[in-house]
């Protein structure tokens, strides 16, 4: 009898506990038209808009200053421009496109906070503040004019009603620094509108503040390098499909046919990803995280091909192979020809020196490691720290000014602290 009560209680509690698990939702409430061109936002006006702005209305939700930066994606001869706003509060950002229907310099889009489910719509108009009065900005400034982004935001899918005013304060911090987005742009668990390690998230990465991306590379059974993070196919990353096991149990064609990532995308090949980065984005750095077993030659061949394609296209894109383990180092050392194979070493400084790697990438949980960082930089190496998401630590790491870049799931936070640094 006692035992029966116990099992009954255990069953009821387990059922309640499991059924109470929350499903988080943060749908992006805006469909971008992705129309090419810049409309009235000429290159000169876009350059003028980039900057640090004070927030006078809306500061309670987004903080008292934000950083604005234009970015773009290419599709052949077409270029789509978009404006991002990095708030630094709750990994918040705005992603806005040019409203070409408006008869003024207007942008529309959405905002999100990556740490929770907050999201909503936003629209702004660019104005000039002259003698205390706001008036439409035409691209012509008089001395004493101040740029103002005047607009509205709101939560959910409602038409924006809450006032938000951004007033230009100073230019963005021009110091060179790599904001590197984890898993192609960000984690699936942060409820982004595109899945991690997908072509869509790579195209979004610049809007999230990234200059570069980290990609997780594995081989299929027929030795096609593809992007996938976890050891196995699982419901964290892919839609239910009846398949299980590791990526290298399936051919690329099987994955292409039967597997979709959480937001519906195919698992991309490394080649598709590099092609997208070089041909479609403003990204300038690619960190290939070696999660594969076996020879590195196929990855090396793609790295060299797309480094060359970028060079031919006049793009300054660096594609490097990350070596996170002794197994990856052995695969690198097993290459027949290591010339023109930029690498990044995640192990200690001695190993980095021994490999002749130009980039050292320590874990952030080891702290700032100032002596080691200074020594590596004095030897001509760059130092990128990973995977740092904690806002206060990002602020400190950037404030100390020792690192050349930060790899983060929260590139909007890194972008905010980098661009607003003085």
């Amino acid at each position: 009898m006692k035992r029966a009560w116990f099992y009954l209680l255990l069953g009821v509690v387990s059922t309640i506990a499991l059924s109470c698990r929350t499903e988080y939702e943060a749908p992006v409430p805006y469909d971008f038209s992705d129309k090419p061109g810049s409309g009235r936002f000429t290159p000169a006006i876009r350059n003028t808009v980039n900057g640090v702005y004070a927030v006078s209305e809306g500061a309670d939700r987004f903080g008292d200053q934000v950083a604005l930066r234009w970015t773009y994606t290419h599709d052949g001869a077409d270029t789509v421009h978009s404006l991002s706003i990095f708030s630094g509060v709750g990994a918040g950002f705005f992603s806005l496109e040019i409203n070409q229907q408006a008869d003024s310099l207007a942008v529309s889009g959405f905002w999100r906070k990556l740490v929770n489910e907050d999201t909503g719509l936003a629209r702004f108009t660019l104005k000039a503040k002259r003698n205390g009065q706001l008036q439409p900005y035409t691209g012509q400034s008089l001395e004493g004019d101040t740029l103002v982004l005047d607009g509205y935001y709101d939560t959910g899918t409602g038409s924006p009603q809450q006032k938000m005013t951004l007033t230009y304060v100073r230019p963005l911090n021009p110091e060179p620094f790599e904001v590197i987005a984890h898993r192609g742009g960000g984690r699936t668990s942060d409820l982004l509108s595109a899945s991690e390690n997908s072509l869509r998230i790579i195209r979004l990465a610049s809007r999230l503040g990234a200059h570069g991306v980290e990609l997780d590379v594995q081989y299929t059974r027929d030795s096609v390098p593809v992007l996938y993070h976890d050891n196995k196919l699982n419901l964290r990353l892919v839609q239910k499909n009846g398949l299980s096991g590791t990526i290298n149990q399936y051919t690329y064609q099987q994955l292409k046919t039967f597997v979709r990532l959480i937001n519906g995308e195919e698992i991309p090949t490394l080649e598709q990803a590099l092609q997208t980065i070089v041909e479609n984005t403003a990204l300038d750095f690619v960190w290939l995280d070696s999660k594969f077993d076996g020879p590195m030659a196929r990855v090396q061949a793609l790295q060299q091909r797309y480094n060359e394609r970028a060079r031919q296209a006049g793009r300054n894109v660096r594609i490097v192979i990350g070596l996170p383990s002794t197994e990856a180092i052995a695969a690198y050392q097993g290459l027949a020809n290591k010339a023109n194979t930029p690498i990044l070493c995640e192990l200690d400084t001695a190993t980095t020196r021994g490999l002749g790697a130009n980039i050292w990438a320590p874990r952030w949980t080891l702290g700032p490691q100032t002596e080691e960082v200074n020594a590596m930089k004095a030897e001509g190496r760059s130092v990128f720290v990973w995977t740092l998401d904690e806002t206060q630590f990002i602020e400190r790491f950037i404030g100390e000014g020792k690192f050349n870049g930060i790899l983060s799931n929260y590139s909007p936070v890194v972008a905010y602290y980098h661009y607003t640094a003085q």
Binding site: W5, V13, V115, N234, P368, D389, F393
Partner: protein, 227 residues
């Protein structure tokens, strides 16, 4: 309203060995239990890796008056530990139903020193006001349910020489515990149950440096031998 008759009869109500059941020990009496708590990792934090992290769990209680008693609890995985001290006020409604309210104040500390991986440590303070309802099914079989609020009081972490801290009280989440306490073998009694915590931060996962500002589900299985 509590029954006056029940209060008057309180000293005559049967006491069974228990740690969670909302009935005070006899004034001056010590109660102790030793066991383990297994906490499952939320998929949002550990992704495809699922662990049920075990921690040693030691409870101690001392009766102060007929209805008031002090509590202490240590949970440890050696590299990270939690010490809680609290007080409880408990009284019977009748000879089957019992209630209690209390508050626990906890301090936790964790450190990870792994070459080329971690040079981190953290500690913090948390507070847990709670209320319990107990029901004695039979003379020896008792179940209890506890609801508690989880409040963060202070958090400090360091990575190498860099330190960040978050002082001040802040709501962190809530938890529900369902416990069964009964004889196990000869004179031995056990506490066994589940705790479902929904919180933004759980001290056992400090080293993952979660940045989610949303409540995650931390299921715990508790098993203790009442000493």
């Amino acid at each position: 309203m509590l029954s006056r008759q029940a209060v008057a009869q309180e000293d005559t109500i049967n006491r069974q060995p228990a740690i969670y059941f909302p009935q005070a020990p006899v004034p001056g009496e010590w109660r102790m239990s030793l066991g383990a708590v297994f906490t499952s990792t939320p998929p949002e934090l550990t992704e495809e890796i699922r662990l049920a992290l075990p921690a040693i769990d030691f409870n101690i209680q001392k009766g102060v008056s007929r209805q008031f008693f002090l509590t202490g609890r240590v949970q440890t995985q050696f590299l990270q530990s939690n010490l809680a001290l609290g007080a409880r006020w408990a009284r019977p409604i009748n000879n089957r139903w019992f209630v209690a309210v209390g508050d626990d104040f906890a301090g936790w500390f964790g450190t990870l020193q792994i070459k080329n991986v971690f040079d981190s440590e953290a500690y913090g303070l948390q507070n847990f006001p709670h209320a319990s309802l107990g029901y004695r099914l039979t003379r020896e079989l008792q179940i209890s349910a506890r609801a508690e609020a989880i409040l963060d009081v202070y958090y400090r972490s360091a990575a190498g020489a860099l330190v960040v801290e978050t002082p001040g009280w802040r709501g962190n989440g809530f938890a529900f515990t369902f416990m069964l306490e009964q004889p196990f073998y000869k004179q031995q009694h056990v506490s066994i149950g589940l705790r479902a915590a929904y919180s933004r931060f759980n001290w056992q996962f400090w080293s993952l440096y979660s940045t989610f500002d949303r409540s995650l589900f931390y299921p715990q299985l508790l098993f203790n031998f009442i000493l």
